[in-house]
Symmetry: C2
Subunit: 364 residues, 2 copies
Amino acid sequence: MIMLTDKEIVERLVKIGIKVLDDLKKGENPALNIPLRSLRNVYYDENTGLIKLKDSFQERYYFNIGQSKKFMQTILIADRIKWLVEQNKTLSIRQLFYTLKHTIPGFKENTFDSQDESDPIIEDIEVLINVLRENLNLFASSKGVLAGPMTIIDSGDEIDISKLGSAGYGVPGIVEPDVIKFKDCSADYVLVVEKDAVWARLNEDKYWKKNNCLLLTGKGQPSRAERRILRRLHNELKLPVYVFTDMDPWGYYIYSVYKQGSINLAYFSEKSGVPNAKFLGFKMSDVKNFEMPQDSFIKMGDQDYKRLKELSSYAWFQTKEWQKELKELKKFGNKIEQDALVMKGIEFAAKEYLPKKIENKDWI
Amino acid sequence: MIMLTDKEIVERLVKIGIKVLDDLKKGENPALNIPLRSLRNVYYDENTGLIKLKDSFQERYYFNIGQSKKFMQTILIADRIKWLVEQNKTLSIRQLFYTLKHTIPGFKENTFDSQDESDPIIEDIEVLINVLRENLNLFASSKGVLAGPMTIIDSGDEIDISKLGSAGYGVPGIVEPDVIKFKDCSADYVLVVEKDAVWARLNEDKYWKKNNCLLLTGKGQPSRAERRILRRLHNELKLPVYVFTDMDPWGYYIYSVYKQGSINLAYFSEKSGVPNAKFLGFKMSDVKNFEMPQDSFIKMGDQDYKRLKELSSYAWFQTKEWQKELKELKKFGNKIEQDALVMKGIEFAAKEYLPKKIENKDWI
């Protein structure tokens, strides 16, 4: 990904305003040409292994009763982002909303009534100028944690993330190279685990130390920051990525978000996906291979079957291996959570399951 | 608080089992005498300023059709906790559930069907042997972040939490003195902020550096770990505590949880409350004093009024100052979120609001 300088970002934003002004001067109806972000403008690119945006656009007009307010909001947000980038300050997307919410003088109308109005427009601007929100100094909450043999420079502070005890390195909301730099790293791979508690268990067992790897969790469905840092670890440090989730449609999908990206943020996938990521498990063949006790099984419910059906239809799950896995899970009719491995012994995941899986390349 | 050694904890657990065995040998019906944790067994202790448990108990009998299963579950969990403490390993409360869930041989009945059954029994055992879950090596997810001029020793790693960049120190699930030690700290006070985004904003503005304090957030309603670490910072390092939340009933309640404790975990309050904590704001007098723009007001809804009424009735909100605050808020009819301060300028909270409030002792 080409990183733009703040100056270049400001130029792109200013260009939007100048075009609007020019249109007005020429007596034309100013329009913004915004790439569509809905499902019908999304496709799976087999060459790159990523979910991408197609090239449909929507025109957003100034002189259009249905679009005029949104047009104004777009310009307001573009203007405020310009101000933010120039000041070199960051704001949460909620705070951005607050800085812009006001009553239009002489009217009873508010510029914005709720954050539901401003968040999608931030995404419009990301695709409009092809710059990630994170480079526009805007962040949302993150929640992930990372540990391993690595030194990170975060806002000028040098942090040895092998020495952060039980806490680990809390992945901040923005992990772009201007804020977060990778200094030294001797890890052989990155292990991503779905859940916080599994991360804590493996961290306590010093899994990453014994296996010389990085250990990351996004605490369930990852936010943008965990996806971005994983991508950077993979691309910049050439580290293989293994993902370990629950054996259920939700866990499989979390894996696919790290790998191919998500439907909702297709334009972000290109900048956050790791197409080479491997799915370690938990998977159907593990049930027998590791002799999982019947007491670890949880009956699948209607929602699980529904989600499983959706997954089976996604283009990025159309490989032979995945179709087999999904079919077998449906037939099996039970989920297994990754936490359940403690039933086999408290250090079973760290000492048996994970090392064997990786050694035997037992992944999808 | 008196810290028990692992040996003493094991002794208390073993005592439970021995009493049950003795009762059985004597031909008596074994019973566990468990302190009640419901609202009617909770009171506000004005002397200590903490929400506490009264002394009602419930008997849990072995030979009682309605209680027999729960009796068995209690013994199973006590046994498994003993095993955990002896091994010196930690588990999440979810993982504990998994290690115990199984089908009883010869029956179709499971020991536990869901975690909703095991979590309350963990709390029963906490009150039964008067030891915190955290000392029983059990944890739930935490989410808080801390930064400031301080060195923490976490599981043997020495961590300078003034050098953790934008990430800060992620408060781990267990912050008891055997895992987390406070080494050096030159801070003058602890500022607790309700929200993540406000924490990030203040961290970026180096608020804690300029004002020589610790900056903590529990990201909304705090989990046990943030409450425990705050209590330890206050008690062990004698640091004053200031809390900064939204101006709404939910923010006020969050403040009261840090200060007096919560109804649900009254027995935990004694070990986590900070009765001297001050409420900095956001509060009604700030609206005028800081000339908050009308656009920062959010109309209160039915749920807000309902919660406000509940708060007004709690014993720990019966001070003159609080009753005045709550009445004024009701009359005002608007909430103000702490994020809204950015409307007054991006660094307004860090450079104007907070320093002035603390200098003028403008708190409740």
